[in-house]
Symmetry: C2
């Protein structure tokens, strides 16, 4: 993973680790916030996207990359491709918010719209790949993407000694799987936890069942966490993520509010899930040193009012 970290240097910021006495008091623990909301394009996804693109041959790069995503990975892929001067084809559902499409276009990505169904998305992607010869890169179910995402935890472990726990949100599982691999390699004594919304709890269900349980009808404001685990992220999560903490929507909102009010930082709902989980598990984290990965900060500011009333 050190090689991965080295490779993606020109594509990422080394994000700061912030602390907050008030939140420490509230949690009864020492919290270290890894601020991936300050990452390029506003989320950790830039790490995995850059690493995956950089593994391509020169010939593959010339033909470009393709992915399907309506969220941060679409922007990350577009920006990483732009930085290398190669094309990025992004399949997005036609009902994606205009602000997200504009962000992808702003980073030079070419958007191909499709009907908002899984089938249409896959068909459209296949056609794009056939037409352009671009290489498909999955938003999370990809070894290079997972390793790239793990570099956030790697930096955190380099900056902060003796962490008892690192917690990250879980959606498709790329971030928390990468985090688990980083901890395994660089700090085996550190437990890796995940935070997950109650209304999109497929990772928690999968852990209970001992096999992947797909997400059905996810209901959460944490739009980055509505996806199902993949067959590459699941085994890592099954074996190396110690605990999945479920949180309510109101707890996610409260954590976003706390991060803005007390730490003066903007975090998207998905990014606030890990803090919500820690504040819910006060007994288990008492007096521990806890790393919290704030995964991103891309929230439509017009909607903030609706979060906070």
């Amino acid at each position: 993973m050190l090689t991965v970290h080295q490779r993606i240097q020109p594509f990422i910021h080394r994000t700061p680790v912030l602390t907050c006495q008030t939140l420490d008091r509230m949690a009864g623990a020492s919290l270290f916030f890894k601020c991936e909301n300050f990452q390029k394009m506003g989320a950790f996804k830039m790490r995995g996207a850059a690493n995956a693109i950089l593994q391509l041959t020169e010939e593959q790069r010339q033909r470009g990359v393709a992915t399907h995503s309506s969220g941060n990975f679409a922007q990350a892929m577009a920006l990483a491709a732009q930085m290398l001067g190669i094309p990025a084809y992004i399949v997005m559902p036609s009902n994606s918010p205009e602000v997200k499409k504009a962000a992808v276009r702003g980073y030079g990505g070419e958007i191909i719209e499709c009907e908002p169904t899984l089938q249409a998305r896959e068909d459209t992607l296949a056609k794009v790949v056939e037409r352009t010869g671009a290489t498909f890169i999955h938003p999370f179910n990809d070894g290079n993407v997972i390793m790239g995402q793990g570099t956030a935890a790697l930096e955190l472990l380099q900056d902060i000694d003796n962490l008892d726990i690192i917690i990250a949100p879980v959606g498709g599982g790329g971030l928390v799987a990468g985090t688990a691999l980083a901890a395994l390699q660089f700090s085996p004594r550190t437990s890796v936890w995940a935070g997950e919304p109650m209304g999109a709890n497929d990772a928690w269900q999968s852990k209970q069942a001992g096999q992947i349980v797909p997400q059905t009808n996810p209901q959460t404001i944490a739009d980055g966490l509505r996806t199902s685990l993949g067959d590459k992220t699941w085994p890592i999560i099954r074996d190396h993520v110690k605990r999945i903490v479920l949180v309510e929507e109101e707890e996610i909102r409260d954590s976003m509010h706390l991060l803005m009010e007390r730490m003066k930082i903007v975090v998207e709902p998905s990014g606030a899930v890990a803090l919500a989980a820690i504040l819910k598990e006060k007994k288990a984290v008492a007096d521990k040193r806890v790393g919290i990965i704030l995964s991103g900060g891309n929230v439509d500011l017009k909607t903030l009012g609706s979060f906070f009333g």
Copy 2:
């Protein structure tokens, strides 16, 4: 000022300096943001309050400190006093927002309410001082407070080489006067500028007139900048602040929005004034290296909706 900086170490955070490529592009300059919104209690005022309190004799400290403020200085004085275990008496107008009173109480300050007039404030303060023997510390018109505030620029100059300009907002003038003294001592080639709301432009008027022009009926969302200059801040500003840039209310709002959207940080209206000034003066700052002091982040989140519509 190095001695001052040393003295207040236990009371302050060394705040990070952040950068943002998008804002650099917008300004056509290299911007370095000194994040005093991450300072203890959320604003640079902690620096001056701590320095002033630490100059008191042991006997003076035992009797406590008193000030009049409805803003960040009230909180800073209360917190600095709490950290030393001494009393802080804060005179606040009875119509101060409840959230501000709660913040002062939260830091252990004792609030004494008065009618919302200058006369009532001064009378009430005099009575408090007479009753308690506390030492009055002015929120900005005080040499020790000015020197303390200057340590934000000192840190910025230590962290970033070759700044052409440093800009800070101007209200009573403590921050920008301290900034000017820091630049004089540590980087004489750096020009110090101030940003000021058009609707509270007493510093700009004072510069034009060559003498203090008091603030009358200030109209601005930048609540920290509604005060008049003092006789200790004015001469420093007159002689060492090169330029005062006036900004409109809408420009302040736009800058707050940009800081949240692009940098993912929460800055109060007063704190966004310096960025607004730089974005207004693109010709004068072209290709320059500009330090921007984001003075604080204490904004009532319930009001954000009203700023951004």
